[in-house]
């Protein structure tokens, strides 16, 4: 089944002239988008900051890898199980740590991410340790990743615009008031944490199928920091902003790749500039809206610049 799957993808890409390098970039983009969508729900809509979501990616990746390689499980099932495993661990961890506030919660998440990495390095028989886990079947071709990405966006959107999503935003705005209205803050936060973990695990599982080889150090603190930075740059409280942020974060290092030695410096400067001059992120707190975009273009013509929130009174 996998070979049929891959040949469909190859046929599609060859007709469009998409090089394998670009396919790789798109797959990485989709992986980042899914992980960042999860972070967006957690950070943008619930205002919880976690520096350990790379650990959930790692759990998702290794679960999917072990299942597909050692137990010959179908890759779709393996990915789902990987995401669920990550969510389950988040449920347990969140139950313990979500009572902590602010930076304390952040540190426990950071610690969790590091613990996962250290543990997977140590369990050589299960995960291959630092030598890595090779031989994962190549199920993450471009089409599949894009489909996953669209599906993830769809689900996240529905979630945010549902009863649960509204609970999240109410906690973000004013936790005490939300509790007064009867929302169980702890349970809602935990739900949001689990959601972000499931998405991170999903992204990790796709990563495993893309590179076909995983090492624990690929999911380190730097990765978690990158997820947070991307979410903030995309705009806290905007799913489309997060998508855009993730695309940018994947594409920027590629754009700079030819300036080999200066790559990371320029990337860091870009981050600082965005946060200094447009801290609400690329999309601010709002979602992408066709009406507002058209109104904006119209107002340029009128020489007014940004429309004074006139047209398109959008629901968030």
């Amino acid at each position: 089944m996998l070979s049929v799957f891959n040949s469909i993808n190859n046929a599609f890409c060859n007709t469009l002239g998409i090089s394998s390098y670009m396919q790789g970039v798109v797959v990485l983009m989709c992986i980042n988008i899914i992980a960042v969508l999860g972070m967006s729900v957690l950070t943008g809509f619930t205002r919880l900051f976690s520096f350990g979501n790379a650990g959930f990616m790692s759990i998702g990746a290794y679960t999917a890898a072990i299942l597909t390689v050692r137990y010959d499980v179908n890759f779709l099932v393996a990915i789902i199980l990987g995401a669920i495993a990550a969510g389950f661990v988040a449920f347990c961890l969140g139950s313990i740590t979500l009572r902590l506030k602010g930076d304390y919660f952040l540190i426990t998440c950071l610690g969790f991410g590091e613990c996962v990495r250290v543990l997977f390095n140590w369990t050589k028989n299960l995960t291959g340790g630092s030598a890595g886990f090779p031989g994962i079947p190549a199920y993450s071709n471009m089409l599949f990743s894009v489909v996953c990405c669209i599906l993830a966006f769809f689900i996240a959107w529905r979630f945010i615009h549902s009863k649960y999503g509204r609970n999240l935003t109410s906690i973000r705005e004013n936790e005490v008031a939300a509790q007064a209205v009867g929302i169980n803050a702890f349970r809602t936060k935990r739900l949001s944490f689990v959601f972000s973990a499931i998405y991170a695990g999903w992204a990790g599982a796709i990563y495993a199928g893309y590179l076909m080889y995983i090492v624990p150090s690929a999911f380190n603190l730097g990765k978690s920091c990158e997820l947070i930075t991307t979410t903030v740059i995309g705009g806290l409280g905007s799913l489309t902003g997060s998508v855009l942020g993730a695309i940018l974060v994947t594409v920027l290092p590629e754009v700079f790749r030819s300036m080999a030695n200066y790559r990371m410096l320029l990337y860091g400067i870009a981050v600082v500039l965005v946060i200094m001059f447009k801290p609400s992120g690329l999309y601010g707190y709002k979602e992408f809206s066709l009406k507002r975009t058209i109104a904006w273009f119209r107002n340029i013509g009128k020489g007014k610049g940004k429309p004074a929130a006139a047209e398109g009174k959008e629901d968030k």
Partner: protein, 290 residues
């Protein structure tokens, strides 16, 4: 052997403590984690390297210039970047993200200017050890512990006994209130950053003297962050306590549990401590971010 491990733990913690002090100072004032604090230390260390190896200055002068360098970069960062971010409103997390970006910029810049080559100061600091009650302790470790203690006393004096310290505490409590009462908030914050930068510079030079100087040496700032959390964010003595405790925990876990899984058990222990004392050991009550 237990006593040796304890001594080792305290000396490791002593190195973290100096960095944690400056870090915690900024936190207690502005309520944000200065992720680039470690890089201020790195800059201080490099400035001292430049003056002592590339230019013929005596080491003590170079060290003072290094401390000044750390203070300068700290002050500049606050003035150019953080002030701007603060003025646009928004959660303190933005300051942290800005700090993260800056940390990367500093590291890359140092890498490009100095290359990843390890640098050392041009003299042999006393690397000898002395024996106390059957345990070895490095002379340099003792020196840094003493310096940390002196700095702490000095800091406590400033914070508790001077007008400046009163202003700082006022701003930490309520920025607007302090402004109304006539405190020059911005200038005060600048001074605190200069102070924190000096502390970072000293930490950087000591660390560089004990080991080496290299572009990513600022990553030790993460330990300072963890120490501050452990000791209680918003409390400078707490940060120092947290740092020493972190050093001891790491060493004892490494010695008696597992050196391979040291970080695993250390973090697990940290989580347990935080569950018992959710605001850290000496912490004041903290509100959620943003």
């Amino acid at each position: 052997m237990f006593f040796q491990q304890l001594i080792t733990g305290i000396s490791v913690g002593g190195i973290y403590a100096l960095l944690a002090t400056g870090y915690s100072l900024i936190y207690s004032l502005l309520d944000f984690s200065n992720w680039s604090h470690g890089e201020f230390a790195m800059v201080g260390a490099y400035v001292a390297i430049v003056f002592s190896t590339m230019l013929p200055f005596p080491f003590l002068v170079a060290a003072m210039l290094g401390v000044a360098g750390g203070a300068l970069v700290s002050w500049l960062t606050e003035k150019v970047v953080y002030r701007r971010i603060r003025s646009t409103g928004g959660p303190n997390m933005f300051l942290m993200i800005g700090a993260m970006g800056l940390s990367s910029v500093f590291q890359q810049a140092a890498n490009l200017i100095f290359t990843g080559q390890y640098r050392s100061y041009p003299f042999k600091l006393p690397v000898s050890t002395i024996k106390i009650a059957g345990a070895y302790i490095g002379v340099l470790d003792l020196i840094s512990l003493i310096i940390t203690a002196v700095v702490l006393i000095f800091l406590m004096y400033i914070i508790n006994k001077t007008q400046f310290g009163l202003n700082v505490r006022g701003i930490a409590c309520n920025q607007w209130g302090a402004k109304i009462l006539g405190v020059k908030v911005d200038s005060c914050i600048s001074k605190v950053f200069i102070l924190a930068g000096c502390l970072a510079g000293v930490a950087g030079i000591l660390y560089g003297a004990k080991y080496n100087v290299w572009p990513t040496m600022g990553n030790i700032g993460l330990k300072a962050f963890i120490s501050s959390v452990l000791g209680g964010l918003g409390s400078v003595p707490g940060a120092i306590l947290g740092a020493v405790l972190l050093g001891i925990i790491e060493t004892l876990v490494s010695a008696y549990v597992s050196s391979s899984l040291r970080d695993f058990f250390s973090f697990a222990l940290l989580i347990v401590i935080l569950l018992v004392k959710p605001s850290g050991l000496l912490g004041v009550d903290v509100q959620d971010k943003a």
